[in-house]
């Protein structure tokens, strides 16, 4: 098992992967086509099954990290729906496991339907032609356009698995227990993939992407709520009340970002619209980077991506809306992991502006420094839609009993539910399968 020695470590994602992207870079029309890390790159090889199987082994292989103690699965814990395994805001990492990053670990489940990041997203049918603005991409700021691009980030981040170069990763891969399978699957005819570290990197990321598409592990749709939608079970009274509050635009208004509805013969909800919102989460002192008062994590505006910082100041402070599927398995919430329970999160949602002193520090003059994790210039970007605004009567949108009901509902979104003699195969993967070397 890996050691998790102290709080404050991070799963922050490197600003730029050594692998630019699995996809092609812009190439002049005349040059040779770019190599693509795709199934059947050479006739029958590699198959999707081979890529998925190798991706799985890579995912659980702590030996691929500089520390030898950190696998993908260390932070993206299969026992926690591929989210963080503990209540740390950020996870430990780095070559000595002494570093930490800046953001909490997102779940890897249900992210595969995310489109690449775009400034304008118009859904003609479900959103009626409204421009949802920035949408898509992976990670908290959408800078990775595909799961493979995302996978390359922690492999190379000095705060995480800390491979300083493709060569380092290739060396570690070559020493793995599945090196032969990797070579057999990913070597071009007459070549040895281990002779080309860039390709080892590319194939590793591609294999991780294919593994992360496996329906059983990452896309199961086996929650109680799914069973409810399939008319295989019923919700308890509390859960049903919670769903109603979740949907009600005057109460939780949660569906404005976390759609909950199934079309009666259509797609199941993934509980995110893949959009970006600034919630004004309080600054979290548990993140080491925050010791620097000049440091701000601005999401779409950096520090990890800076392409929008100057041109789109309205986007500063916005972070990607996560799926709420399996949210009850988390012990840490929001991009900075400032909250540790769903009740706390919901209380913040409905009382942020009513009792700001509960969430934010006071200045020396006694006034409350609202939205203290954003520079003053960006504080107007913080959303003031329900449920953040109080009800017309001045009360919070949800009272404590209603929050209990919403939490009860959110707990129905955890995969692996079995009911009425109909057992859904548990999609949980044994967390002990992380293999240190």
């Amino acid at each position: 098992m890996i050691g998790l020695r102290r709080a404050g470590a991070a799963a922050a994602l490197a600003a730029s992967a050594l692998l630019g992207s699995l996809a092609a870079r812009a190439v002049p029309a005349a040059s040779a086509p770019p190599f693509r890390y795709v199934p059947h790159a050479w006739g029958a090889r590699p198959t999707v099954a081979e890529m998925s199987s190798l991706g799985r082994r890579i995912f659980f292989d702590a030996g691929l990290s500089a520390s030898g103690r950190q696998a993908c699965a260390s932070c993206h814990s299969p026992a926690n729906a591929f989210g963080p395994p503990n209540d740390l805001a950020v996870q430990p990492g780095g070559a000595e496991m002494t570093r930490s990053g800046t953001r909490s670990v997102p779940t890897l489940r249900y992210v595969q339907t995310s489109i690449p990041f775009t400034q304008h997203y118009i859904d003609d049918d479900d959103a009626g032609g409204q421009d949802a603005g920035p949408t898509g991409g992976l990670t908290w700021d959408g800078r990775a356009d595909s799961p493979s691009a995302q996978a390359a980030l922690p492999l190379t981040s000095p705060n995480e698995m800390a491979n300083a170069s493709p060569r380092e990763l290739a060396a570690r891969m070559r020493a793995s227990s599945y090196a032969r399978e990797f070579r057999d699957a990913f070597s071009a005819p007459g070549r040895d993939v281990f002779d080309d570290p860039e390709r080892v990197m590319g194939w590793a990321a591609a294999a991780l992407e294919v593994y992360q598409e496996s329906a059983e592990d990452f896309y199961p749709f086996t929650s109680k709520y799914d069973a409810f939608l399939r008319r295989q079970t019923t919700l308890t009274e509390s859960e049903a009340r919670g769903l109603a509050l979740f949907n009600d635009p005057r109460k939780g208004n949660c569906t404005s970002c976390h759609p909950s509805a199934i079309r009666s013969s259509g797609a199941f909800p993934v509980f995110t619209d893949f959009g970006y919102v600034a919630l004004g989460a309080p600054r979290n002192a548990a993140i080491p980077a925050n010791r620097d008062p000049a440091y701000f994590d601005l999401g779409l505006c950096g520090p990890e991506r800076i392409d929008l910082r100057d041109s789109h100041p309205d986007d500063c402070g916005r972070f990607k809306t996560p799926t709420l599927r399996n949210v009850a398995t988390r012990k840490v919430f929001f991009h900075n992991g400032v909250f540790h329970s769903l009740r706390e999160v919901l209380a913040f949602y409905v009382r942020r502006d009513l009792t700001p002193e509960r969430w934010y520090p006071r200045r020396p003059d006694g006034t409350v420094r609202k939205y203290d994790d954003l520079p003053a210039t960006y504080r107007d970007n913080v959303t003031r839609e329900a449920p953040f605004t109080p009800s017309p009567d001045g009360r919070p949108r949800l009272d404590d009993a209603e929050i209990d009901d919403v939490v009860a509902f959110l707990e129905t979104l955890t995969d692996g539910y079995a009911s009425g003699g109909r057992t859904h195969r548990s999609s949980q993967v044994d967390a002990t399968s992380i293999s240190p070397r």
Binding site: A23, A24, A26, A29, P33, P34, R36, V38, P39, H40, V48, M51, S52, Q112, T113, S114, I115, P116, T118, Q119, H120, I122, D124, D125, D126, A127, G128, G129, D131, D145, S146, E209, V210, E213, S214, A215, L229, R231, T234, L235, A240, R241, L243, A244, F246, N247, D248, P249, T255, S260, A261, I262, R263, S264, S265, G266, A267, F268, P269, V270
Partner: protein, 715 residues
């Protein structure tokens, strides 16, 4: 001299038909007229009433003023071929005759041999009579339909004054193509009388039902249909999909984010579709896929781009080789279904399948619903200073600064379709100012109706709760262009738009608080309520000022109704003359929220309901898809105007009068429905339908048909 003679004949004839029994002149005479006069038309006394000039029949040729005289009595037939010319008497300008025409006139009224007199005799033939009684019955029908008296109906359109002249011209214009089609169909030996009657004598159709389904290309659903222009033809002349740089793609791109929608019983992932789909159509429900599981018609696929400019980039000027490059769904665009198990297929087998029917407008459902009712794109006045300003589309321009129908690609967009979906600078809801050349801003992608039900809630100040917030970026201002309902109203014809879940959704969106589906489920019910999937932009009339919920509440009540009302009216035999039906979202076959099988079964049920109605024996049903839904089709749309037509879609004509087991290759588009209604009830053509015709003919093409080629009223 000629004119005097003509007047004399006209005067004599006006009296003649009324007193034919006693008055027995020795000659018949008149003019062969349409939109001008036909010179050198061959005119015969049609002794055997077969609508053909034969050598044994008395014959002559018309003069430059269209006039003729023949000795004897009886019905007249004029054969107009390439050796004839059409002369405009006002200007003297001449036009060659391109399509062979046959004009007829009954013995009772030979003074003006015109398309209208040809229609008149066809109506008589439909009653199997050439007696005076049959003549007067047919004439009465025309009088009623045209709103003219007997003398006016029989008058020369070139000499009449407006508004009679305009009415006659409109009627004649609507007849000419049908007459040409009948002449072509009957050829040398088939019954020309029958061909003319099938196209011209439409009185037996008393109820027209338009079922407007969703988002499938012809090849997607019916590509394997025997006898239709389908995938076999596409294979004979393959259309390899090209990459964004114009090179041929080595393989189809993956179905991005997977072929199947979330939560389906079968999951086909993106990786499983990567690098295994040859650059060709593939069968989604093929039971023997080599690389991924079979997604049957019951499995919902992911959605596909179907937007105004993207559709044009995919059609690529008719090459149809840009579908994969400019899709958000990658290679899925090339998917198709077996189709044989579907009710659509069975209906097409039994009745008439139109295999050359194009969506009227490029792009999506919003615009094609508008096109169905107004043949137009909605206008957003001063959009650049309105709340909708952020949704103005960014287009490329040519060297002269004129807009091209091509979205500006974002700088971060991947050059190859194999690497990612395209991203654009801004593919918005509204085309740039003056894109259509009339100085306006027009909405081309989904916007919201100004009235509830709308995806935009009422403004805070709206105490009626009946309007959508006009300050919302996606609320379209009320439209005032003429629509088909206006034309039907003007004729005093009944009509209604029936929509699935209309009443339920109207109640939800006018409730306080506004609670549109799908968020509106009560939540406390176990198991979950079936929440209607209702698309506001599939309700085209709700965008028009004539249905203002306060000022025009009566019009709304009369014309905008629920599916349940349709069922009740069908059972009671009280369906209006023109009935539109829009199924609700989960039953309309739209990819992304509806599977093929459920919508198909629902529509089959609706048709059974209609067939059980007392009105069925005089009913004509057009089962038409609104647009291709982003799915590829191999047929190049004809070159029309800036609005369309777009890709080819399935269309089936179901009626006791539909030709049986017939595949109709006539060129149609969505506007053909308005054209049929115009012809059946002598309505003016919508300006957009006329514009489409002009654009087609200006480009050397043919006008769209009016669907009468699908009809057969029997021997």
């Amino acid at each position: 001299m000629n004119r005097l003679r003509f007047l004399a004949i006209l005067v004599s004839l006006r009296g003649a038909h009324a007193a034919a029994a006693v008055d027995s002149p020795r000659t018949v005479g008149g003019v062969v007229a349409g939109d001008g006069y036909y010179q050198n038309a061959l005119v015969c006394l049609d002794a055997n009433r077969n609508a053909r000039c034969e050598s044994r029949e008395r014959h002559t040729r018309t003069a430059a003023d269209g006039s003729f005289t023949l000795e004897g009595r009886g019905p007249v037939v004029a054969e107009i071929g390439p050796d004839a010319i059409l002369i405009d008497p006002a200007t003297g300008t001449t036009q060659p005759v391109t399509d062979r025409l046959t004009l007829r006139a009954p013995a009772q009224a030979t003074g003006v041999v015109s398309p209208i007199s040809t229609e008149l005799i066809a109506l008589m033939d439909a009653r199997h009579g050439h007696s005076d009684r049959a003549f007067h019955a047919a004439l009465a029908s025309l009088e009623g339909r045209l709103g003219l008296d007997e003398e006016q109906v029989l008058s020369d359109p070139n000499r009449a004054d407006d508004p009679v002249r305009a009415t006659l011209r409109n009627e004649n214009d609507g007849l000419v193509d049908r007459i040409a089609a009948a002449v072509a169909e009957s050829g040398r030996s088939a019954s020309r009388v029958r061909s003319l009657r099938n196209r011209l004598a439409l009185d037996d159709i008393r109820t027209v039902v338009v079922i407007y389904a969703e988002n499938r290309s012809f090849d997607n659903l019916l590509g394997l249909f025997p006898g239709a222009n389908g995938l076999r033809e596409a294979r004979r002349n393959p259309i390899p999909q090209k990459d964004r740089d114009g090179s041929v793609l080595p393989m189809l791109p993956p179905a991005w984010t997977g072929l199947t929608a979330p939560g389906q019983s079968v999951t086909v992932t993106q990786a499983e579709t990567t690098n295994v789909l040859p650059n060709a159509p593939f069968q989604i429900d093929d039971p023997l896929h080599r690389y991924f599981r079979t997604a049957s018609r019951k499995v919902v696929t992911r959605d596909l781009y179907h937007r105004f400019f993207e559709n044009q980039m995919q059609i690529a000027g008719g090459a149809n080789d840009g579908f994969a490059a400019w899709a958000d769904s990658g290679g899925l665009v090339m998917g198709y279904y077996d189709g044989r198990q579907s009710a659509l297929w069975r209906l097409a087998r039994r009745y008439t399948l139109a295999d050359n029917f194009f969506q009227g407008a490029f792009g999506g459902s919003f615009l094609n619903h508008q096109y169905l009712v107004c043949a137009c794109a909605p206008e957003y006045p001063n959009a650049d200073t309105s709340p909708a300003k952020p949704s103005l589309t960014t287009l490329d321009t040519d060297d002269g600064g004129r807009y091209l129908p091509r979205l500006t690609v974002a700088s971060t967009s991947k050059p190859s379709a194999l690497d990612a979906i395209p991203t654009f600078a801004l593919s918005g809801n509204i085309a740039p100012k003056d894109y259509f050349g009339d100085g306006t801003f027009r909405a081309v992608n989904t916007m919201q109706p100004p009235y509830q039900p709308s995806a935009n809630k009422p403004a805070k100040t709206d105490e009626t709760r009946l309007y959508a917030d006009p300050s919302a970026a996606t609320t379209l201002p009320p439209q005032t262009a003429p629509h088909i309902g206006d034309l039907l109203d003007a004729k005093g014809l009944s009509w209604a738009w029936y929509a699935g879940a209309w009443n339920q959704v109207l109640a939800l969106t006018t409730a306080n608080p506004y609670s549109p589906p799908p968020q509106s489920g009560p939540g406390t019910s176990n198991p979950p309520p079936v929440v209607p999937t209702f698309q506001f932009h599939h309700q085209p009339f709700n965008f028009f000022a004539g249905f203002d919920p306060v000022a025009r509440a009566d019009a709304r009540a009369a014309h905008l109704k629920d599916y349940e009302d349709l069922v009740a009216a069908a059972k009671a035999g009280t369906l209006p003359a023109v009935t539109f039906y829009k199924p609700q979202g989960n039953l309309n076959e739209h990819a992304g929220y509806s599977n093929v099988a459920d919508g198909d079964a629902h529509i089959a049920g609706v048709i059974r309901t209609l067939q059980a109605s007392a009105q069925w024996k005089h009913m004509l049903v057009f089962l038409v898809y609104d647009e291709n839904g982003g799915w590829w089709d191999h047929v190049a749309p004809p070159h029309g105007d800036l609005l369309g037509p777009g890709s080819r879609i399935p269309a089936v004509v179901v009626s006791p009068f539909a030709k049986r087991s017939f595949v109709d290759h006539t060129q149609y588009d969505t506007g053909s429905i308005a054209r049929f209604l115009a012809h059946r009830w002598s309505l003016p053509l919508l300006p957009g339908v006329k514009r489409r015709d002009d654009a087609l003919t200006a480009g050397g093409g043919r006008r769209m048909g009016d669907l009468t080629n699908a009809l057969d009223f029997g021997p």
